[in-house]
């Protein structure tokens, strides 16, 4: 089985997002960028499925501008076999991304797609579900365990109440939660090897899809900060303040 892993280039999770002075968005100029952490979980799972003999080929794909290639190279260094960059400088919404990925999945004839459950920049948590809908495939989101046997997969999902187990028919679109696995570290020889792995570039316009955004961002602003607090010197002082000042206990 071929598997498609969808990845996104995002602001490094350790870096605090800063809003531009003109409130047009978040300032990403010169910011440290990385592969979205959940996408790393997704790719790691694909690598483990290949090691287990369930998957033969791993294609890592992303939609974005010039530097998206760096993120895909990271995916190749982790162990993906080849990469596809759908090139556009526009920031597509999840629906547009899902339309693009549907076309890639069908062209490549993959038997499964796995993505991160959400990107830590726009926090939409939509793309995998939308792609599953457009393909008409089974959907398994927020996976913390995936077992594939023949044309069925048993998946444990992280839901608000705890853990839910479902069975889905393959082909399926799945989304990775954090506890699915621990992504491997990339070693230097793997980085060198990744430079020679195939990287296809497809211009978005050549796909002939309607990927027009439906939302207009009118303003991006910083949330109100919290007023500075106080340091208390003892547990008894803390309890006294919670009782008599904050009146919350």
């Amino acid at each position: 089985m071929k598997i498609l892993v969808c990845v996104k280039r995002v602001l490094d999770p350790q870096v605090k997002a800063r809003v531009k002075a003109d409130e047009s968005g978040v300032d990403l100029a010169n910011a440290k960028m990385t592969m979205n952490p959940f996408c790393e979980n997704a790719l790691e799972e694909a690598l483990r499925l290949r090691e287990a003999g369930v998957v033969e080929e791993i294609i890592v794909a992303s939609v974005g501008g010039g530097k998206t290639e760096e993120t895909l190279r990271h995916g190749l260094a982790m162990g993906a076999d080849r990469a596809i960059q759908v090139v556009t400088e526009d920031a597509l919404e999840p629906l547009g991304i899902a339309k693009v990925l549907k076309q890639i999945a069908e062209q490549e004839g993959v038997g499964m797609v796995i993505a991160g459950k959400q990107a830590i920049d726009d926090d939409s948590n939509q793309t995998a579900q939308m792609l599953s809908a457009l393909l008409g495939w089974s959907q398994a989101t927020y996976c913390s365990e995936i077992k594939i046997e023949g044309d069925m997969a048993t998946v444990t999902r992280e839901v608000d109440a705890g853990l839910e187990t479902i069975q889905v028919k393959m082909p399926a679109v799945m989304s990775a939660d954090l506890r699915l696995n621990e992504p491997r570290y990339v070693k230097l020889p793997d980085v060198m090897k990744a430079k020679r792995k195939p990287m296809d570039k497809i211009e978005l316009d050549s796909l002939g899809l309607d990927t027009a955004n439906r939302l207009t961002t009118l303003k991006v602003e910083e949330p109100e900060g919290r007023a500075a607090g106080v340091i208390v010197n003892s547990v008894s002082e803390l309890v006294e303040k919670l009782r008599n000042e904050a009146k919350v206990i």
Partner: protein
């Protein structure tokens, strides 16, 4: 675009017995958008849910799709029903819980509509505010879609009253059994504890707790305060506690009256889940920990001394 009469459809989250509390917040968001509010109850043997939903204040009608194929809210089947019902509405809303987040984007894509995730404010019927970058920025977005597909972040909307409404209940059919997935099991959480998402007080532990056994200290404090116990991602990743306790960007987003963070450093993704709490207390032995920047009351101390002392003082 046809000129639709403004109307909201709220997808009810439930367990086939009771209306989930999160839905009440989505109803309030619908009230702020304006127009009629209809509720969709899809499940199996769930007429009690529809009857309870009909009593929610401000609701015009309840559509009840009672069918085995909706029993476990599998995304494929439920999304197909939402698509069938959504055509008559300008807004379709669900709570931004794992229930709503799972099914709504699927329905949106089938309708060829964008989804507006986790709104925290209604500016107008087509303009909404939503957090991005773990809540470090707030985006105001305007939708051009004729059906607006929305998930609602519960903490920013008060719950609608569960009494006072007298809506009609209409049985409907629709949706398909896609036959793509089936429900196997649900690991049941410890039900005798206070619900994390609705608790007035939450006591959370982080990596500093060192192991799962030490969380018993927090449970003891929580029992005295009538509080729920939560955890940081680090504590969940380390296997100290189960995933449903995780508070943060990708766990639960909560806003209790009092949040006590014990041994939690305060990573960006954790703050995203609790910084709307009314009063925040941080107990940590590292005075440089970022959690102190959002805490109303900080105590720089060894938690293994401070927490038993706190327990004794309550």
């Amino acid at each position: 675009m046809e000129n639709r009469v403004m109307g909201n459809l709220v997808i009810v989250e439930h367990d086939n017995n009771e209306v989930g509390a999160a839905t009440l917040h989505a109803v309030t968001a619908a009230q702020q958008i304006g127009g009629d509010i209809d509720l969709l109850v899809a499940g199996e043997n769930c007429s009690a849910v529809a009857d309870a939903a009909a009593k929610i204040a401000g609701v015009s009608s309840v559509k009840l799709a009672d069918d085995a194929k909706f029993g476990h809210h599998l995304a494929e089947n439920l999304a197909s029903l939402i698509v069938d019902v959504a055509a008559g509405y300008t807004h379709v809303l669900a709570s931004a819980t794992t229930f709503g987040k799972n099914v709504m984007p699927r329905a949106a894509a089938l309708l060829d509509k964008a989804q507006i995730s986790e709104i925290v404010e209604v500016k107008s019927p087509d303009t909404f505010v939503r957090p991005i970058y773990a809540g470090n920025a707030l985006a105001t977005v305007q939708s051009s879609d004729d059906i607006k597909m929305i998930t609602v972040r519960t903490i920013k909307f008060e719950p609608a009253a569960t009494e006072g409404g007298s809506a009609s209940v209409e049985a409907i059919s629709g949706g398909t059994d896609a036959g793509l997935s089936s429900w196997v099991s649900q690991a049941v959480s410890n039900n005798d504890q206070v619900d994390l998402t609705s608790a007035k007080i939450v006591v959370s532990g982080g990596r500093g707790m060192q192991n799962g056994d030490n969380f018993s200290m927090l449970h003891s404090v929580a029992a005295k305060l009538g509080a729920a116990v939560g955890a940081s991602r680090a504590a969940v990743d380390s296997g100290f506690v189960p995933n449903e306790l995780q508070v943060g960007q990708t766990g639960k987003v909560i806003a209790p009256d009092l949040y006590i963070a014990v041994g939690i450093s305060g990573a960006i993704q954790h703050l995203a889940g609790m910084k709307e709490s009314k009063v925040i207390v941080a107990i940590n032995n590292d005075s440089e920990a970022p959690i102190f920047q959002v805490a109303d009351y900080g105590l720089v101390a060894d938690l293994f001394e401070a927490v038993p002392e706190l327990d004794a003082a309550l």
